[in-house]
């Protein structure tokens, strides 16, 4: 599956070194989102960038063994359901839809819990959708060659 570019040892070593830090940075952006700039959208794209880099360097087949297509598809829905689930949970706790105040006894900590869960849902969905987009476009090209 390796093409010409990925056979370069520089690229494969650099991408191996970068893989974990990119994800760590993604997680930082994700969970720092309620204090500073960041949040689910940006973090999701950063985390997806790590996986897309892996697929680009080591080939689509290895990328799809790392993130199987079905798992990816389920995670897309899980992210959305996590977001919507927080909304439904707040209805069960006698609040409005997505009313974070009722998630905890203290409204302020309720807001924290709510925003972290919702942003996590956004992050999961954005990351998996980005990976799915890359994989589907990449596999389209492979099947034609």
């Amino acid at each position: 599956m390796r093409d010409k570019i990925s056979s370069s040892p520089v690229l494969s070593v650099v991408s191996k070194v970068l893989f974990a830090p990119i994800i760590i940075f993604g997680l930082y952006v994700q969970f720092h989102g309620d204090y500073g700039p960041g949040g689910g959208f940006q973090a999701g794209v950063i985390v997806a960038a790590a996986f897309i880099l892996y697929s680009m360097i080591f080939g689509l087949a290895k990328g799809e063994t790392l993130v199987p297509v079905m798992v990816n598809r389920y995670l897309m829905c899980v992210g959305v359901l996590l977001y919507a689930g927080v909304g439904i949970l707040s209805i069960f706790l006698d609040g409005m839809y997505l009313d974070y105040n009722v998630l905890s006894t203290n409204p302020s900590s309720g807001q924290h819990i709510g925003i972290i869960l919702v942003e996590l849902g956004v992050g999961i969905t954005v990351a998996t959708v980005m990976i799915a987009l890359y994989h589907s476009f990449a596999s389209f090209k492979v099947s034609h060659e």
Partner: protein, 498 residues
């Protein structure tokens, strides 16, 4: 326990289909996606009925998402304007989902039905959001979700005809341009007023009553964006291909509801928000929307007369029918807005019924339904053909059908405003509608072949007949539609001077 949900009905009618859409994506593609869709839409109808009951008591419901007060948070608003549309929407999606099962099984591959229902519910949830939202940016989000879901649904028609892909792509590009225009306009409005909430926008805009160029530019961008989405002539070019190459169940949903919800919002934006600039509104309605509607009525019908492909014929007739609605709105008085809403209701039923019947013919004939292919269908499939006949007569505007009520109110509104040329144009277009519908009837009943009747599938003709009976029912007893439309017009004419 159930009360807990009833309080949140405005959010749930949008959220439930969206959640179910994500759950269905997990499902193996058998019968489950359809069963879950049906269950969700039954709840949807129950919640809508509850909303109507609430609105009839309290007149207006504002639902604040996340308990953030408007204008800071996003809010949904249900009042006299959209309560009737909500009930139409909710009942029609239930019937068309019931109808869709066998059609999807025949028209798209079995492994795709799960995806199809996931997208189907996504489209339903987002179109419902367009009806309820009270926030101009939130509307853009729903416009985009509904467009993307319907584009994917249209492209599922590629299994039958590869042209579906081209139709979906055209809709994607043109729809995206429309949505971009809308969001640029909303951006202008936000830059000038600092608000996205429609009620607050009315207050903030009235500060600039002398008129600011940026606001006029913003309003124009928003209106043109919505005109693209609502397929108002001459911005309709995406519509005929999109409706005719989509799977039949999808054509039904889109033709009946997609443009109608956007026309509703168009009216709401014009008569509730932009009414502050009456001069601008008069110029827009009298010199842009009015002539375009008259041309649309004429051109749409004329092109339909020359169509051979029946789904395309119906799509072009939709452009003329959208012209009737916008013509009614362009009269900018109580009678005009009433007749516009009456036709939104009636046309949704008529076009829904027509596309449903033709969709059934398409799976029976296993190819595109053209005039030559339906020879003798009146004898071969009498039950469905008869439903098609009634829907078609209603489209022409025959008495005892709801199409007659539409035409009556439109003529009345035009007469009050002394618009004699449009009356002639509407009458001429009705006459031409007889021509193209007669071509269908001629092939179905008066061709040289008279085949024996064949068995028809009750699970398909049952929903078709529900729509057909409602067409006759609302033609005889039209007061529910008239009441809802008058109520809408009452709310929307509060700001009008005349």
């Amino acid at each position: 326990m159930f009360d807990l949900f009833l309080d949140d009905a405005p959010a749930l009618v949008v959220v439930l289909p969206l959640i179910a859409s994500a759950i269905i994506a997990f499902m193996p593609s058998k019968i489950w996606p359809w069963i879950i869709s049906m269950i969700v839409l039954v709840f949807h109808l129950a919640l809508s009925l509850h909303l109507i009951e609430e609105v009839s008591i309290s007149k207006i419901i504002i639902y604040e998402f996340g308990n953030w007060e408007p204008p800071w948070g996003i809010s949904f608003k249900i009042d006299g304007v959209n309560s009737g549309l909500q009930i139409l929407f909710s009942s029609f999606v239930l019937i068309s989902t019931f109808y869709s099962r066998k059609i999807f099984l025949n028209e798209i591959e079995a492994e795709d039905t799960g995806k199809a229902y996931s997208l189907w519910l996504l489209a339903i949830g987002s179109l419902n959001g367009i009806i309820l939202t009270n926030d101009i940016f939130n509307l853009f989000v729903f416009l985009e979700i509904s467009a993307l879901a319907s584009i994917s649904l249209i492209s599922l028609g590629a299994g039958l005809n590869r042209k579906a892909l081209l139709a979906a792509f055209n809709y994607l590009i043109i729809g995206a341009i429309g949505a971009t225009f809308y969001v640029i306009g909303a951006g202008f409005a936000y830059a000038m007023t600092g608000t996205l909430n429609m009620n607050d926008l009315i207050i903030q805009l009235s500060q600039y009553s002398d008129g600011q160029l940026a606001i006029f530019a913003g309003m124009s961008f928003m209106l043109i964006g919505l005109m693209v989405k609502a397929a108002i002539f001459p911005l309709h070019i995406w519509l005929p291909a999109a409706y005719s190459y989509a799977p039949s169940a999808v054509s039904t949903l889109l033709a009946a509801l997609a443009t109608k919800t956007i026309l509703y919002f168009f009216a709401r934006l014009l008569f509730e928000v932009f009414i502050i600039y009456e001069n601008y509104l008069i110029i827009f309605l009298d010199f842009i929307l009015f002539p375009l509607s008259v041309i649309a009525i004429f051109i749409g019908t004329l092109i339909a007369v020359y169509q051979d492909d029946i789904k395309k014929l119906l799509a072009f007739s939709s452009i003329a029918q959208i012209g009737y609605i916008t013509l009614a709105f362009s009269l900018r008085d109580h009678s005009g807005i009433t007749s516009g809403f009456v036709h939104i209701f009636n046309h949704a039923l008529i076009k829904g019924g027509l596309f449903m019947s033709v969709g059934y013919f398409a799976i029976l004939y296993k190819d595109r339904v053209t005039l030559s292919s339906i020879k003798g269908f009146g004898y071969k499939y009498p039950i469905t053909s008869f439903a098609l006949l009634i829907c078609g007569l209603s489209l022409i505007g025959l008495p005892l059908t709801n199409g007659f009520i539409s035409k009556l109110y439109l003529f009345q509104a035009l007469y009050i405003n002394q618009m004699y040329i449009p009356i002639a144009s509407v009458a001429l277009s009705s006459a031409l509608a007889v021509v193209y519908f007669w071509k269908i009837v001629e092939q179905m009943w008066f061709s040289d072949i008279k085949p024996k009747p064949e068995k028809e599938d009750p699970s398909i003709y049952f929903p078709i007949w529900i729509i057909t009976i409602s067409i006759i029912l609302f033609g005889i007893y039209s007061s529910p539609i008239i009441e809802f439309s008058t109520l809408s017009a009452d709310y929307l004419t509060q700001g009008l001077q005349k």
